[in-house]
Assembly symmetry: C2
């Protein structure tokens, strides 16, 4: 048997469909008796309103489209969990789509959302502002996370600079003199900002120290490779700051395998505070991804609710988490 529709309910309760709709959406506007009859019919028939039809009629779906890159592990779940928490509380649903590198596919995913969502939350650290502007329909309220700011849309970003500043200060205070940086993938916004922040913080806090930036790609392997290169080129250093935790861990293992003591000889720190970091005692910068997710949803819903669309960038402050990998120097 097909699912009951509002008409079936109306017939059974011997009222018009309009009354059913009212009884359900604005109970105060119908007589108590009618309401009861409707409610009875609803339970009898196990009626559940057809959300799709409703959205079409009221032209609002109470759904938010979420487009994320193929995020790695922890981030993804934290972010989505935060969004889901906020969305649930606000009565919104999440239509999720992960966007693979290809910008065309991304556009495809967005097109499929037309008419299903009231707004959009997108994270696209690898796309250029122009690409983003082109892909995101201008009429659709949207919030960007950690993305280059396209058509001046409201966006949320991790305050990379502040995080790195704190970390470098911590290293300097502990007597480290030469910090090398293992960078993230080219073109990645966070990677770029972290490298730049490393650059300026080092110059400011460790004047005269040599600046070394090694290429990387956020993988553990890249962290190991960086150490290999440093050793082979006999570059002197007493601290490593990797643009993310995985590379930092790779570097840490590589160092230890070569007989160097962490933190005795070399301090190692990362960025992100993935769960592994805690277990392996890695100093890092922690970003509350779930908070970002929740914030994004909350702001988007506010915008949908009629608030002025904001076009500014909101920076989320990360927190320095000191663990033993940057302990006392020998």
């Amino acid at each position: 048997m097909a699912e009951a529709t509002i008409r079936d309910v109306a017939r059974r309760a011997a009222v018009s469909v309009a009354s059913v709709s009212r009884a359900l959406n604005a109970p105060a506007t119908v007589r108590a008796e009618t309401r009861d009859r409707v409610l009875q019919a609803v339970t009898d028939l196990h009626y559940v309103p057809h959300a799709g039809a409703r959205s079409l009629s009221i032209r609002s779906s109470h759904a938010i489209g979420v487009v994320l890159p193929d995020l790695h592990g922890e981030f993804f779940s934290e972010l989505v969990r935060g969004m889901d928490r906020a969305a649930g509380a606000l009565g919104y649903q999440l239509l999720l789509s992960t966007m693979h590198a290809d910008a065309d596919l991304a556009a495809q995913a967005l097109r499929a959302m037309r008419g299903r969502v009231d707004g959009l939350i997108a994270m696209a650290p690898q796309l250029s502002p122009a690409q983003i502007a082109q892909i995101v329909p201008p009429a659709l309220p949207a919030i960007l996370i950690n993305s280059a700011d396209g058509a001046g849309r409201h966006s949320l970003r991790v305050d990379n600079r502040k995080g790195v500043d704190r970390l470098v200060a911590h290293l300097a205070e502990n007597g480290r003199r030469t910090i090398v940086h293992i960078a993230g993938p080219q073109g990645n916004l966070d990677a770029i900002e972290r490298a730049a922040a490393y650059h300026s913080a080092s110059e400011r806090l460790l004047p005269g120290s040599q600046l070394v930036i090694l290429p990387g790609d956020f993988s553990e392997e890249a962290g190991r490779d960086a150490i290999t290169r440093l050793v082979e080129q006999r570059i002197p250093f007493d601290a490593v700051f990797a643009a993310n935790d995985m590379m930092a861990l790779g570097a840490m293992m590589a160092l230890r395998e070569r007989g160097m003591d962490v933190p005795g000889d070399i301090a190692v720190a990362g960025f992100d505070d993935i769960p592994l970091a805690r277990f392996l005692d890695l100093t890092t910068i922690s970003v509350a991804m779930d908070e970002i997710g929740a914030q994004a949803v909350t702001r988007l819903v506010a915008e949908l609710g009629g608030d002025e669309r904001r076009r500014d960038v909101m920076l989320i402050e990360p927190r320095l988490v000191v663990r033993s990998s940057t302990g006392v120097r020998r």
Copy 2:
């Protein structure tokens, strides 16, 4: 300006809306010239079809509802990634909702999906079959993951038995004679199956060896506690198999702190293959969560496509990952 509708396109192309629809959905059925005019109008107006309206009309949304428990880190993302991969390939979208402990909220979340999704994938290891049967609308095609089998719906599950068999065989081959098991929380489906599998595999492969099952709750602490108890009660053993990796790691640390060598004196193994396991060189049983997600979507779509609804349980084979924690015995 509001988004263009099919009517705007029709007007601009000087054809009827029916022709626009046809030109877009069944290009072969319209004359080339009309098609071109329509396509031109589409690009001119940046027309994107309204998916909601389309679904209502064709009574199919090409969307799948996904209801997951508040899963921890890695699992969640792997699972969703697998689903998204398959869904993307099949042209489906994912409507995600995480279900908090409360069964009422779960029901709520499901109601909100009525009329927006063609089918459902749900994971609810904590709900009883009766609860599941009550919440999931009987008319909705659905697939359950690692859940008690409610109204005989098709479901996907990890083949705990096979995984444990392989692990016990591996331990036995390496000369371990007495394997103790640290169990997971009471009532948890996986925990129960793993303990039972340990029981039968031990009897079969290590006849005459003593069977020891210690209580646990999947926490690192429980792993440590188990070791304490074993030592205090002077129970002899040369291998530990914990129902998950966290407990195995707890046990491993506790053993080493007591001066015992792993794997020299005692072999330690877990279940899940969390990222930490690799770093700490723990032998474990790996479950490809992304495969499960992808399978779930694929099967659901097949069912939607008219395939007979299946009511059986499909077991996903886990893989034994041997690392140094079960290396040679001294």
